[in-house]
């Protein structure tokens, strides 16, 4: 009997071992191969001969429709293809059929784990492992362009291609809304942050000076006296986990022109800047006077929007007002004399000019062609097409003559029919036209061609911000790599900062503010800020090298 038990045990153990081996075998094999595989591009054969002056999609003789899968790492992406005006035209021009797949990071990870990649991949985080190790799973765009479509170089931005180069000197992903230094200078891109105030309030309190801390505190008191129902000062919502602090750190610092790097070009800790802290003390006083509501710290994005659309805040430090465009417009339409306007306020105590930011050179969505792409030639043709003038005009404004017309001065305006649909039937506008939505290669410079690209309510704010934009490319993507000790420490510091900031704003006295900031500095030291800054400085140096600045 004992023998039988032993036998049974041995047998079941064998089964278990075989089982585990089987399972581990499954998991391990597939993507190991892809890691070592070098990108070998299939030959074009007799499909077409390259022509530098002509985009390859016009040359391609491939008869059958190319089917491609395109993964977009966002749940909100519209997966329809070929049913609306814009994608129908793309489908015809390129003879393709795209199947969009949407998902979140978990789904993206599953693709990598499973090793079965879609043809084209769009992600958002240029500092993620996926982006930094793109050479293991995507084709280099230079190789693709050289082999299949040299016209790509004509439409792609050189600065952007350079920026996204990995250590092998090749670019794997191409972003939308990537602004180079020239774009900042062109005047085609607008600022998006401003100090705004309700027009009726501004006039009623006699347009006081709000550019100095003292003036600001006084003005808020005045507002409270004259408009007891309004909250004198508001700001964007704080993230619940402390990962972002509304418009109360970075945006304020931009308004004050707090530098991003010190005189030696090293990382500068903007949060402990003297100028900034002088303003923090002013905001503290405003809060102590009862002119900042504690609810502003717990409101989420929806609640903030609601307060904007009902004009609950008399003044606001608003970041990304374009994103609040609908709420701002709603309030302005219902209360034309009370609409929010941007005015000078919250300025440096040290005489610095505001240095507002916009989408940097890293852009927003980044597009890759995976090494498992069934037809890489077609894929690069899509990249070229969407970036060309033809593709940009199509995705931004539709088809000339049908939805838009171009005046002799180059200004684009929608046709009467199109405008009617846009105003009266927004759903049809979205479903049938899909104008301004197919944005994987979008760029603001095309938006600037038309006066209808932005809602009326933000135009004055954009105007206010003219000449205040300042590119900060060198400090983009300088965070430590995910999973490193420094990344963990930085996350702790950021969480601590969020708590410190709100505590400072809610502090009882200026002395308490100083204690809090001292505590924060100590915390930074304890959490290896030096090692983090070393990483940052290395990355700044790398960035500068890429950008060609000293």
């Amino acid at each position: 009997m004992e023998k039988a038990t032993v036998k049974k045990m041995v047998a079941s153990m064998c089964v278990a071992i075989v089982f585990v081996l089987l399972v581990s075998g499954c998991g391990g094999s597939s993507s190991k191969d892809s890691k070592e595989k070098t990108a070998k591009l299939p030959s074009l054969g007799k499909r077409y001969t390259l022509d530098k002056a002509e985009p390859a999609w016009k040359l391609d003789t491939k008869k059958e429709t190319t089917k491609l899968t395109w993964y977009v790492n966002a749940d909100w992406w519209n997966t329809e293809f070929g049913t609306d005006m814009i994608t129908k035209k793309i489908k015809e021009d390129l003879n393709i059929d795209i199947e969009f797949i949407v998902g979140d990071d978990t789904k993206l990870n599953t693709y990598f784990a499973g090793g079965d990649m879609p043809d084209i991949v769009s992600i958002f985080d240029s500092n993620s492992t996926v982006a930094r190790k793109a050479n293991t799973w995507a084709y280099p765009l230079q190789d693709l362009a050289d082999k299949y479509d040299p016209y790509f170089y004509d439409v792609a931005s050189k600065d952007t291609l350079n920026w996204y180069k990995l250590s092998d000197n090749k670019t794997y992903g191409y972003p939308d809304y990537s602004n180079a230094a020239a774009d900042y200078k062109s005047g085609d891109i607008y600022s998006r942050d401003a100090f705004i105030i309700r027009q009726d309030v501004y006039e009623a309190i006699g347009k006081p000076d709000m550019t100095t801390p003292e003036g600001f505190v006084k003005a808020m008191k005045l507002i409270k006296e004259k408009f007891p129902d309004l909250i004198p000062f508001g700001f964007n919502d704080f993230a619940k986990d402390g990962s972002s602090n509304g418009s109360m750190d970075g945006v304020i610092q931009d308004m004050l022109g707090v530098p991003y790097t010190d005189a030696d070009g090293n990382y500068y800790d903007r949060n402990v800047d003297k100028d900034y802290l002088a303003w923090i003390k002013a905001f503290r006083q405003v809060h102590a006077d009862g002119n900042i509501s504690d609810d502003s710290f717990t409101d989420d994005g929806d609640k903030f929007k609601e307060k904007v659309s009902t004009g609950k805040y008399a003044t606001m430090m608003i970041g990304s007002f374009v994103n609040q465009g609908i709420a701002l417009q709603e309030f302005a339409t219902n209360n034309p004399t009370e609409k929010y306007i941007a005015v000078d306020g919250i300025q440096s105590t040290e005489g610095n000019e505001a240095t507002l930011t916009q989408a940097g050179i890293s852009g927003w969505m980044i597009n890759y062609i995976s090494q498992q792409c069934s037809d890489p030639a077609k894929a690069i043709q899509i990249f070229t097409y969407l970036q060309s003038e033809e593709g940009q005009m199509l995705t931004n404004f539709g088809i000339e003559g049908e939805t838009y017309t171009v005046a002799s001065d180059g200004k684009v305006s929608y046709t009467a029919d199109a405008l009617k649909v846009q105003n009266e039937n927004p759903e049809a506008w979205q479903k049938e036209y899909r104008i301004g939505e197919f944005i994987q290669f979008g760029h603001d410079k095309y938006k600037a061609l038309s006066d209808d690209s932005y809602v009326e309510a933000v135009k004055q704010m954009q105007e206010w911000g003219t000449d205040k934009l300042e590119p900060q490319f060198a400090t983009e993507n300088i965070g430590p790599d995910a999973g490193s000790q420094e990344a963990r420490a930085l996350s702790a510091i950021q969480t601590n900062w969020s708590t410190t900031l709100v505590s400072m704003l809610r502090a009882k006295s200026d002395k308490e503010v100083e204690q809090l900031i001292a505590k924060y500095k100590k915390f930074e030291k304890e959490n290896s800020i030096q090692a983090i800054n070393k990483v940052r400085n290395e990355k700044i140096a790398e960035n500068k090298k890429k950008l060609g600045i000293k």
Binding site: G28, F112, K240, D294, D295, F297, D300, G483, A487, T495
Partner: protein, 312 residues
């Protein structure tokens, strides 16, 4: 020693028996397959706790790092802070949330059947069906400066104009009591089901002997529910480390984070948001092991209380 049957004979017997039970087996097998695919195979993924894994690697080819992730976890004070918060919030939930459903269940049971009883039951279940996203939004509004709680306090002459969600010291209580409020009614269902199975003659006999209402509850209802109470207790204790992720994510803000970060939200933040999968898995694995230990220990304790019979 039992005389051994030849192996093929035994196999044949086995299959014969299996064939006779085919209806039952066909019901059980899908469950077993499901368990293997979704509960056992994923266990293999735990090896990334001992590796330096990023999205680009496959589980197989990531580098081994041994106990390194665990060593960092042990030294991570945020982890320990989240452990303290988890235990405090779960402890409060256990303290109030475990007893309350039993009391409510007994009270409902003692009510005469009728419209009133059904209304009470339905009302007490209601909050359970609201997700934390909705409920959390309600709570944040209630606790805001002009919210319901402050208005009530002002009504009673306690003047206050503060946002209670920003007060870290109140968070444990807010989290625990709001959870109890949400789930207490729902928790009565199991108890009511057991109580409906109690033989009414017990109560009749007790009444004959002159036992009052409370005496009946104490000497009949509660002893009859002993095993289900023990079972619930074991499950509750083994879930001590499993405090509510949805609730935390909704109610957390930068001011109460020190008191509101629980193990689950910490793992979520590190693993899914920051892509630090290995580290997050190490934390998760450690917590699972402790939870199993808790389960075993409570089982031993309740066994003692239940005449040495395990309810598991």
């Amino acid at each position: 020693m039992v005389k051994k049957e030849p192996i093929n004979r035994r196999l044949k017997n086995y299959w014969e028996k299996f064939g006779k039970q085919w209806q039952l087996q066909s019901m059980a097998i899908p469950g077993v397959v499901y368990m293997i695919i979704f509960n056992f195979i994923p266990i293999y993924g735990l090896v990334i706790a001992f590796k330096n894994y990023t999205v680009i690697d496959s589980i197989g080819n990531a580098d081994w790092v041994g106990w390194q992730n665990f060593e960092i976890v042990m030294k991570d004070r945020y982890f320990w802070q989240s452990v303290v918060n988890t235990l405090a919030i779960s402890g409060l939930k256990l303290l109030f949330g475990f007893v309350l459903p039993i009391i409510i269940a007994i009270m409902i049971y003692e009510l005469r059947a009728g419209v009133f009883k059904r209304v009470i039951q339905t009302i007490s279940y209601l909050p359970h069906f609201l997700s934390w996203i909705i409920l959390g939004g309600m709570l944040i509004t209630w606790f805001s400066t002009t919210g319901m709680i402050n208005q009530l306090l002002q009504m009673f002459g306690i003047v206050t104009q503060q946002n209670h969600m920003l007060d870290a010291n109140k968070y444990w209580w807010i989290a625990a009591l709001s959870d109890v409020w949400k789930e207490a009614g729902w928790g009565t269902i199991l108890y009511l089901a057991v109580m409906s199975k109690i033989d009414p003659t017990y109560y009749e006999a007790a009444k004959m002997d002159g036992a009052g209402r409370l005496r009946q509850v104490w000497s009949i209802t509660i002893p009859m529910m002993k095993s289900i109470i023990s079972l619930n207790f074991i499950l509750a204790v083994s879930g001590l480390f499993n405090s509510n992720l949805d609730q935390t994510l909704v109610l957390m803000n930068s001011q109460n984070q020190q008191k509101s970060e629980v193990i689950n939200s910490y793992v979520y933040r590190l693993g899914l948001q920051q892509g630090d999968f290995s580290y997050a898995t190490a934390v998760g694995l450690g917590v699972s092991i402790i939870s199993v230990l808790l389960l075993v220990v409570t089982n031993l304790v309740t066994k003692k209380l239940n005449d040495n019979k395990s309810v598991l």
